[in-house]
């Protein structure tokens, strides 16, 4: 859709082609006018692996969302030169003359100004009192269904009261306590207690269910509290579906502005809080004998163990991303994989040399390549496992689950607990099936795209057609 602003009119958008790795905008043939910085944009130094200093610019966009861009400092310096009075042409010409490291000529900078700074509303027309809202950013969340449960305001109110848990001496003390509590649980308690979930009464099972849910909430609160302690105020908490998993999530997008050390703290904060919560549950059980508290401990630990997987976008993924300083780890890993795939067929991909679209120091690039190798192996393994799960388990079992619903509804006496159990069991299987089907379709589409790019490359090598890029998106 073409915006009505006379400035943005000049920026002509087109649908991305298969080979594009980023949104593409056809820049205008000429630019005149006066531009001013968008006062709603905030900028911070960006702590990440790069070959030059970077800034992060936060731009409010449609639907109360915020788009975040990592921009080289040399180009941010150009942005700062727009004052709402000087003509755009003059600003660009002066920048080329006075900023020795800007690395682009006037023509290229004009494209940057119009194709990005104006298009994404980092700059606004100086004479337009009511500029159009920025275009919505693509949804990059891996959650295909999500429900916000706690607003930023509610999260702030709770997290503000818990930040003391991140006082260093308190944190280390509690972490030691968590380790001791778990040693007690696994060495002395578990061997002598058969955790028979099936032997629990429906009420106890339901209570265990709720306590385990509370433990998930504690986990997300741990992330949120660390972020709020670092100065973030837009953190929300919710639930959703990721691949085949029902998950709790904390929207921590705002932590990109924090130093990497604080980002890592926010990443591991979930495990920290959930570990403390599980330890409190254990103490509760030892003090009262309340069974749901005992049963929820291993549930919490299994969730924690799964969350450190670095290939799915769970906590482990963000820890790897922040420890290594490689932002957008998944997307860049896909770029590397795409480039390899294209090279395999004798052509270079659409991303320069194919290693990464964003220049980084050699060590970080090596880490990215290693991560790409390992994650490729993991996703092949996961696809095989999920296929097995769907074909041999969920689909096989699904008709029986479906038939159980009318059976329970017509049974006398009617049991609300049993009906709820059947419905919940069916709903979860349905969510898992939908998630896996979606994952498989995406995977299949990508395989087809790769196959097509390989075919194009092969024909190009034989001189039949010109190769058109085709790195694609995995």
């Amino acid at each position: 859709m073409r915006p009505a602003s006379p400035f943005v009119d000049l920026a002509e958008e087109r649908e991305p082609a298969d080979g594009d790795v980023a949104p593409v905008v056809r820049a205008p043939a000429a630019r005149v006018g006066v531009l001013r910085p968008n006062p709603a944009v905030s900028a911070h130094p960006f702590d990440a692996q790069a070959r030059e200093p970077m800034m992060i610019c936060e731009v409010p966009s449609a639907g109360d969302q915020v788009a975040r861009f990592a921009i080289p400092l040399r180009l941010f310096a150009l942005l700062e030169r727009f004052d709402g009075e000087t003509d755009t042409t003059t600003v660009i010409r002066r920048a080329c003359a006075e900023l020795p490291n800007i690395q682009h000529d006037e023509t290229t900078l004009a494209r940057f100004v119009n194709g990005f700074l104006v298009h994404r509303r980092l700059l606004l027309p100086a004479n337009d009192p009511a500029p159009l809202p920025p275009p919505a950013s693509p949804d990059t969340s891996p959650l295909y269904f999500r429900v916000p449960l706690l607003s930023a305001r509610a999260v702030n109110a709770i997290a503000d009261r818990l930040t003391w848990l991140y006082t260093p001496w308190i944190g280390w003390t509690l972490a030691a306590g968590v380790l001791i509590a778990h040693a007690v649980f696994y060495i002395w308690i578990l061997p002598t207690h058969a955790l028979r979930f099936g032997a629990l009464s429906p009420a106890t099972l339901l209570a265990t269910f709720l306590v385990a849910g509370a433990s998930t909430f504690a986990h997300e609160l741990g992330h949120a509290t660390a972020a709020v302690r670092g100065g973030c105020r837009r953190v929300t908490i919710g639930a959703g579906v990721y691949l085949y998993m029902i998950v709790g999530y904390a929207d921590l997008s705002e932590v990109w502005r924090l130093p990497r050390r604080q980002r890592v703290l926010a990443d591991v904060g979930g495990v920290y809080f959930q570990g403390v919560f599980a330890s409190l549950l254990l103490m509760l059980y030892l003090g009262t004998g309340w069974q749901p508290a005992l049963f929820a401990v291993p549930l919490a630990d299994v969730a924690i163990a799964a969350s450190i997987n670095p290939f799915l976008r769970l906590d482990g993924y963000w820890v790897v991303s922040d420890l290594t300083g490689i932002a957008n780890l998944r997307a860049r890993s896909r770029s590397v994989f795409s480039a390899w795939w294209t090279r395999l067929w004798g052509r270079r991909g659409g991303m320069g040399d194919g290693a990464d679209v964003w220049p980084m120091p050699a060590r970080a690039t090596t880490i990215l390549v290693a991560y790409t190798l390992l994650s490729s192996v993991f996703f092949v393994w996961l696809a095989i496992q999920l296929s097995t799960l769907v074909l041999w388990n969920l689909l096989y079992d699904y008709p029986h689950r479906l038939a159980a619903v009318p059976h329970e509804l017509t049974r006398q006496p009617l049991s609300a607990m049993h009906v709820a159990a059947v419905l919940l069991s069916l709903a979860i299987r349905t969510a898992i099936l939908v998630g896996i089907t979606r994952f498989m379709l995406t995977l299949g589409a990508n395989v087809l795209r790769f196959a097509r790019s390989a075919s194009d490359a092969h024909r190009s090598r034989n001189g039949n057609v010109l190769y058109t890029g085709g790195a694609g998106k995995a």
């Binding site: 056809r26 006075e98 265990t208 549930l299 496992q385 388990n393």
Partner: protein, 110 residues
């Protein structure tokens, strides 16, 4: 803004001795992409964890017992669901991918 960033910004602003003013017109007809300028839109950070509690229902059946879905629909060596009732459902409750009821009483995966 950190002192390092301020310093780098100040260096950028220093008037160059050998700056060359391009004489080309402001004409950008070529395609624009963020990568060309080393600009990157950062991904959303939804930090997630599987809800064990929610997936606990995966284990519950109409009779209140856990079942443990496996490749052949029953736990190896138990003749049915009973063997999985103990702790076999633990990984199952975690993420619903319990195909791995091993021959010990603990599930060995995922």
């Amino acid at each position: 803004m950190t002192s390092d960033t301020k310093k780098a910004l100040a260096q950028l602003r220093d008037p160059p001795e050998s700056a060359t003013l391009s004489s080309s017109p402001i004409d950008g007809a070529a395609l624009f992409s963020l990568e060309e300028f080393s600009v990157m839109e950062l991904e959303e950070r939804h930090e997630m964890i599987g809800c064990c509690g929610a997936n606990l229902a995966f284990c519950s059946t109409t009779n209140g017992n856990c079942d443990c879905p496996t490749i052949n629909g029953a736990c190896p060596g138990t003749g049915g669901n009973v063997g999985c009732v103990d702790v076999g459902c633990l990984p199952d409750t975690q993420c619903g991918t319990n195909n791995w009821c091993g021959d010990n009483e603990f599930c060995d995966g995922p």
